[in-house]
């Protein structure tokens, strides 16, 4: 359950990302693949050395899904159900990878917002992204 303040922090940070999902998404993936190279096994369709265009395209898809989650943060299970099916039946990403994406997401936010990335924002986003990961892996078995 997200408190009123947590929802406000989530929405506030999203305002900075909205409209730039591709850029933020590409940076997220670049950090993920650089810091945690084993995660690349789940992105074989992007090739061994994904170029900028591929990162922007795929990054945009991922961040747009996060944007949907922000819009419907009271009803994640329903709104992310198709993505949960996808992850359970097709992608089958091992659950231990989600904390790695979350760490890289936080670093993206921190490096862009710098001093404005308050502890309350970090706490709200960590909780929110963890909640998304729980929903995406809930139908695994």
């Amino acid at each position: 359950m997200l408190s009123v303040q947590e929802r406000a922090h989530i929405a506030q940070v999203w305002d900075l990302i909205a409209g730039q999902e591709a850029l933020f998404g590409a940076e997220l993936l670049r950090r993920l693949f650089t810091v945690y190279p084993s995660t690349k096994v789940y992105f074989r369709h992007l090739g061994d050395h994904p170029d900028e265009v591929q990162l922007l395209n795929h990054g945009q898809r991922m961040l747009q899904a996060v944007g949907v989650a922000v819009q419907y943060m009271d009803n994640l299970r329903a709104v992310l159900s198709p993505l949960a099916d996808l992850h359970a039946q097709v992608l089958r990403v091992d659950p231990t990878n989600f904390p790695l994406v979350i760490q890289c997401f936080q670093v993206v936010l921190a490096s862009h917002l710098q001093g404005e990335f308050t502890v309350e924002m970090q706490a709200a986003w960590d909780k929110f992204l963890t909640g998304i990961a729980v929903v995406l892996t809930e139908k695994y078995r």
Partner: protein, 147 residues
């Protein structure tokens, strides 16, 4: 045994030279206690931890954070022998403090996030990679003597 390339060492020491250990330490420990409230279990004697602002302003949190990050600085001087450098602290965290090693990983990640807030664009993916490798190596070294 974790091995750091020359570039990784440069990324680590170069950034560290510009870090205010006292400030960053307090910030790191404070954020750990706020973002992962169950970690407060080790700090019953620290007084007021009732809100984010109470935690971030708590003098005991700041002092202890500085102590923890100063010790991190020692790791950076011993990148080729993290296990040796942290052997005594590992025994302490197991035998006396009874800290779940998972907490070392959580704190390491928080330290990386704080560095990102300080250094912004300078904290590139490659720099992040070097630092994640370091915090992971320190966490492993601190868990090494657990029995």
């Amino acid at each position: 045994m974790v091995h750091f390339t020359a570039e990784e060492k440069a990324a680590i020491t170069g950034l560290w030279a510009k870090v205010n250990v006292e400030e960053a330490g307090g910030e790191a420990l404070g954020r750990l206690l706020v973002v992962y409230p169950w970690t407060q279990r080790f700090f019953d004697s620290f007084g007021n931890l009732s809100s984010a602002s109470a935690i971030m302003g708590n003098p005991k949190v700041k002092a202890h954070g500085k102590k923890v990050l100063t010790s991190f600085g020692e790791a950076i001087k011993n990148l080729d022998n993290l296990k040796g450098a942290f052997a005594k602290l590992s025994e302490l965290h197991c035998d006396k403090l009874h800290v779940d090693p998972e907490n070392f990983r959580l704190l390491g990640n928080v330290i990386v996030i704080i560095l990102a807030t300080h250094f912004g664009r300078e904290f590139t993916p490659d720099v992040q990679a070097a630092w994640q490798k370091l915090v992971s190596g320190v966490a492993t070294a601190l868990a090494h003597k657990y029995h």
